[in-house]
Symmetry: C2
Subunit: 234 residues, 2 copies
DNA sequence: TCTCAAATTTGATCGATGTCAAAACGCGCT
DNA sequence: AGCGCGTTTTGACATCGATCAAATTTGAGA
C-alpha cells in the first residue's frame, strides 16, 4: 500500500481530496493490490479549466477517464450545431470505458463544465490488463452495467415524463428518503442540470416554478422541499 | 463440436434457423469450445406467443435472454399506465445481461412483440462462468459496451432530432450505403417501429408522409427511397 | 377471391417545450 | 456594502408531437 501512495504522489498534481475520490471510484475499489498498482501505472492526472474540450467525436479513443473534481459534459451535435447532452459526469464517475470493447473512435464530445481534475487511463493498457486480471474485467463489467442501466433509465425518463416530473425525480433522487421537508443544494449550474434532464434552461426554470405549487422553493442553488411525499405524487 | 450439436438437439424445440442465430450472436461467437459448452448447459429454449410477458419490472433477475426469432419489447410504465419502449430486441440480440453485475431486480418489463423463440441463460451460472473464463467475461464486456453505445445514441437521437429525421436515420441505417435509389422492408409492424423511435404511431405515419417530398414511398412494410443521398440531408 | 379484424392513416385539437428577447437576479469581486 | 457580469427568469410566440375519433387500408384466413 505504501507503494501505491508513493506512485500516486509521483503523479504530481493529485490533491488528497482527489486521491480519495479516485480510490473510491467503483472502478478501483474492487481491485486487488497488484491490479490496482498496474491500473495506476496506466494512469495520469490532468487539470483543465472550464469549457475545455477533452476529446471530440471521431477522435481516436486511446484513453478513458475518471472525474476527480468538477463536472464533465458528454454531448453530441446535430447538423445545425445544436448540442444535446448525453451524460453529465460527476466526481467519481468514469466515462468512455465503453470504448474498451466498443470501437476505436469516440462517439461523442467531452467537455469540462467547470474547472476539472481528471484521471486518464491508457485504453490499450487497461484492455490488456482486463484480459489478464479477472478483477479488472469485473470492474469493467460493473461499470458498464451501471452506465447501461442509467442510460436506459434516461431513455424511459425522457419518453415518459414531463419537465416538472423529471425535475421532481431529480430532486427526490437526492433527498433523504422520508416524507417530510428537506433541502438540497445543486452541485452545479442550472443550465447544466437542464442539459442533463434534456431540457432548455428556460424549460427547467418553468418546471421549477410549476413545482412551487407543490411546495418547492428555489433560491440560487438551494432547493427547499416542503413535503417530499407530496413531490412523489407529481 | 459434435457434443455441442448433440446438446443443442437435446434442448428440443430448436429449429436449425434458431440454432444458426444462436451461434452467430456476438455473445457466443467469441467463445472457446469449453466455454461454449458450459454456456449452452446454462441455457434453455422457450417459445412464446405474441404479447406475452417475459418478465416484469421488479421481478427477481434470475435469467437473461437471447432472441432467436421474433421481436421483444423492453419498456417501462408511468403512473398512469402509459408505456414507453426502451429497446426493441431483434433476433440475435441479448437482453438483461446488464443484470449480471447490476442489481438483483429487473428494471423494466419485457414482452414479446411477435411469436418469439428465446434462449434463456441462468444468470448465476453465467456469472460464475464469467468469473472463471476470460472469454465469457470478454463477451459480456463487448455486449454491454455495444448496448451502452446504442443507448447513448438513442438519447442523443431523441434529444437532437425531429420525428422525420429519426425515421430518415432509421432508413439510412439499413440501406446500402451508396447515394442512389434503394428499398428496404420493415422487419416488423409500424407501431413497433414507432415505439422504438420514441413516437406515437400517428407521429410515425406523419413522419413518413413528410418524407414523401424527399422521395420516400411507403407501401405496407416496403419502403422505397428515391435517393439515399437526399435523405441524408434531412 | 372475399371477409373481417387489426393496423394504419388522416383530420382536428391541445398541451408541452423550444426559441428569441428583455428584465431580474445572484454571486464574486473590490 | 456596492458594482458589474454572467446566469436565470419571465414573456411572447412558434412548433412539434400526443391524443382522440373517424376513415381507410392491409393482410391473414376461409
Amino acid at each position: 500500500m505504501e507503494a501505491i501512495t508513493d506512485m500516486m504522489n509521483g503523479n504530481l498534481k493529485l490533491s488528497s481530496r482527489d486521491r480519495a475520490v479516485l480510490m473510491k471510484t467503483p472502478f478501483l475499489t474492487g481491485l486487488s493490490g497488484s491490479s490496482l498498482v498496474r491500473m495506476l501505472s496506466a494512469m495520469s492526472v490532468a487539470s483543465l479549466p472550464n469549457r475545455k474540450s477533452i476529446f471530440r467525436e471521431g477522435d481516436n479513443a486511446d484513453a478513458f477517464y475518471c472525474v476527480l473534481s468538477g463536472y464533465v459534459r458528454l454531448y453530441r451535435l446535430n447538423r445545425e450545431g445544436r448540442e444535446a447532452d448525453i451524460r453529465i459526469c460527476a466526481p467519481g464517475d468514469t466515462f468512455a470505458e465503453c470504448q474498451l470493447y466498443g470501437g476505436t473512435k469516440y462517439r461523442y464530445h467531452a467537455q469540462t463544465a467547470e474547472a476539472v481534475t481528471l484521471a486518464k487511463f491508457d485504453m490499450q493498457a487497461v484492455r490488456d490488463l482486463a484480459e489478464q486480471e479477472k478483477d479488472v474485467a469485473k470492474a469493467v463489467m460493473m461499470s458498464l452495467s451501471s452506465h447501461l442501466q442509467a442510460s436506459m433509465d434516461c431513455i424511459a425518463n425522457d419518453r415518459l415524463h414531463t419537465a416538472p416530473q423529471r425535475v421532481a425525480n431529480y430532486i427526490l433522487n437526492r433527498c433523504p428518503v422520508d416524507g417530510g421537508p428537506a433541502a438540497i443544494r445543486l452541485p452545479f449550474q442550472k443550465s447544466l442540470l437542464a442539459g442533463q434532464l434534456g431540457l432548455a434552461p428556460e424549460a427547467l426554470s418553468r418546471a421549477f416554478s410549476t413545482l412551487r405549487k407543490t411546495g418547492v422553493t428555489v433560491r440560487g442553488r438551494v432547493i427547499q422541499v416542503g413535503d417530499v411525499g407530496a413531490l412523489r405524487e407529481i
